[in-house]
């Protein structure tokens, strides 16, 4: 393990987080729950002036319900039917679903659908989650595999993993529970049709924003993902161009990457990060966790993919300058940096990273947000690779 290097305090500026969010923006929260995952994606405002949200894992009790309440109090969210169209329990490890039963008990009336991989786990949180779902029969239950796509308002959610061949092996103990993880790509805007008076036309969208949420998928599962969602970008053949049109985007390219499995040594590899080419690589880990995440091997893979120095020598730039951020890190004044939020505009011109200074057992203080003033790596990418391009 290599503990994250403290980030210079002067790279943060206290500002009004909520004022940064425009109606068309998407907000991604990676909540600090220590060695675990809680993710909350607030979708862009829809025509009725309200927003919906997607939950991906609830790794601890109390923290996410409190965040949802804060967002409702601040009027970013509205208590409404279908507020949360999808809740994903990526896989049934405690650090991903320990808070799920409580969340469903408290917020289940606003949830439409629950996704889980279909891996039976005889843990208290798994069985209590199923009990909570039984108590909310209005929640549709789904076990997605790779390729499944759900359009939710202005975003498209694509399931990257698990591949069906892995899914079919769960019950034989042939698959590590981490490799049952549901990995997702969230892409926006999903709209492609423009209404002009009484006419409509197809939009040839030039730029979309992508977030890849890696859950705890490890090498076996990512190998299948790279097979299913092969990179198309280097190939400019007519077939590749047609595929890009058909698929709508380079399948794995994304601006924000939630690094799998808390950056354990089995959770990420160089090629995967090279394919994603994220501007932000986000790692959920405790300051001093039981498993000593993040692992140096994973950290170096991410750094090398973002800044290749293996053949030229020399040190990498600091993690924050490479866009790598940890929930468990501190600033140089010793203050915890805590939960992360990224405010993204559909065009990609705005991609602001915020920190809230909370410890794992503390609520996310929305009023105490600090904006990160570091570089946006996408500015360094060649123009044609800076954004997903739909031909």
């Amino acid at each position: 393990m290599a503990a994250p290097t403290p980030v210079p305090s002067e790279k943060f500026e206290a500002r009004d987080f909520l004022a940064d969010i425009a109606p068309e923006d998407l907000v991604y929260f990676l909540v600090n729950v220590g060695d675990g995952d809680t993710q909350f994606v607030v979708l862009p405002q829809e025509r009725d002036g309200t927003r919906r949200a997607i939950v991906v894992d609830v790794g601890s009790r109390r923290k996410l319900p409190a965040l949802v309440e804060s967002l409702i109090d601040s009027q970013l969210l509205t208590r409404r039917d279908g507020l949360i169209p999808v809740v994903v329990g990526t896989h049934p490890h405690e650090d991903h679903i320990a808070g799920m039963p409580e969340f469903l008990d408290r917020v289940g009336d606003f949830v439409r659908e629950y996704w889980e991989p279909g891996y039976y786990h005889p843990s208290p949180s798994y069985m209590e989650t199923m009990r909570a779902l039984e108590d909310h029969p209005g929640i549709q239950h789904t076990q997605p595999t790779s390729g499944m796509t759900r359009f939710v308002g202005p975003v498209r959610v694509v399931v990257l993993a698990p591949q069906i061949s892995l899914r079919n092996r769960f019950d034989s103990y042939g698959v590590n529970i981490n490799n049952s993880s549901i990995a997702l790509k969230i892409e926006f805007p999903a709209s492609r049709v423009e209404q002009r008076g009484s006419d409509r036309r197809y939009l040839r969208m030039k730029r979309t924003q992508g977030i890849v949420l890696g859950a705890d998928a490890q090498t076996l599962s990512w190998g299948r993902v790279m097979e299913d969602f092969a990179e198309l970008r280097p190939n400019d053949s007519p077939v590749a161009r047609e595929l890009r049109i058909a698929l709508g985007a380079d399948p794995l390219r994304a601006r924000v990457f939630k690094v799998p499995h808390h950056a354990s040594k089995h959770g990420v590899n160089l090629e995967l990060v090279e394919m994603i080419r994220p501007a932000f690589s986000l790692i959920s880990c405790a300051a001093k966790g039981r498993y000593h995440f993040p692992h140096t091997v994973a950290q170096e893979s991410v750094r090398e993919a973002l800044e290749a120095i293996a053949t030229t020598g020399g040190p990498h730039r600091p993690d924050d300058e490479l866009g790598i951020h940890y929930t468990g890190s501190t600033d140089t004044d010793g203050r915890p940096l805590g939960s992360i939020a990224i405010v993204m505009s559909p065009s990609g011109r705005k991609r602001n990273l915020w920190r809230f200074g909370d410890r794992p057992d503390e609520p996310v203080p929305l009023g105490a947000g600090r904006l990160f003033l570091g570089p946006d790596l996408s500015a360094e990418l060649p123009v044609e690779e800076a954004e997903t391009v739909v031909l």
């Binding site: 039976y120 786990h121 005889p122 843990s123 208290p124 199923m130 009990r131 039984e134 354990s264 498993y291």
Partner: protein, 122 residues
């Protein structure tokens, strides 16, 4: 739930939740009660403990009942008396250690199917 006839009074429910880098993550909770629908209920939040894999396997080889020689797997469930967890299992898990994995996996399937499909009344 019969738990193969085991008297579970005072026992803890111990699940192997994660095996990572030579460490084993255990979720330890009070023994579940059953509600009026026959559902297992875990009222308290499980304590997450980390123990050394090698030490736990050695400890289980001595005290697991019924005795089995197989590697530890995620999803294994044990019943035993416990104290405050440390990384050394012998310091807080009191033998004998009853392997209730088969019953627990069936309980998980019961919980799952009761949630996703209608229950058949007989």
């Amino acid at each position: 739930m019969d738990w193969s006839g085991l008297d579970t009074t005072g026992l803890s429910y111990i699940v192997v939740d994660e095996i990572e880098g030579g460490m084993v993550g255990l979720a330890v909770s009070d023994w579940p009660a059953q509600d009026d629908k026959g559902r297992l209920r875990f009222d308290s939040e499980p304590v997450q403990a980390a123990v050394e894999l090698v030490e736990l396997e050695r400890f289980l080889a001595l005290h697991r009942q019924p005795s089995q020689e197989r590697p530890l797997r995620v999803g294994d469930v044990f019943a035993a008396r416990t104290g405050a967890p440390t990384t050394h299992p012998e310091g807080w898990i009191e033998p004998p250690i009853h392997d209730v994995t088969a019953d627990a996996r069936e309980a998980a399937k019961v919980a799952f199917y009761a949630a996703v499909a209608p229950i058949i009344d007989t």
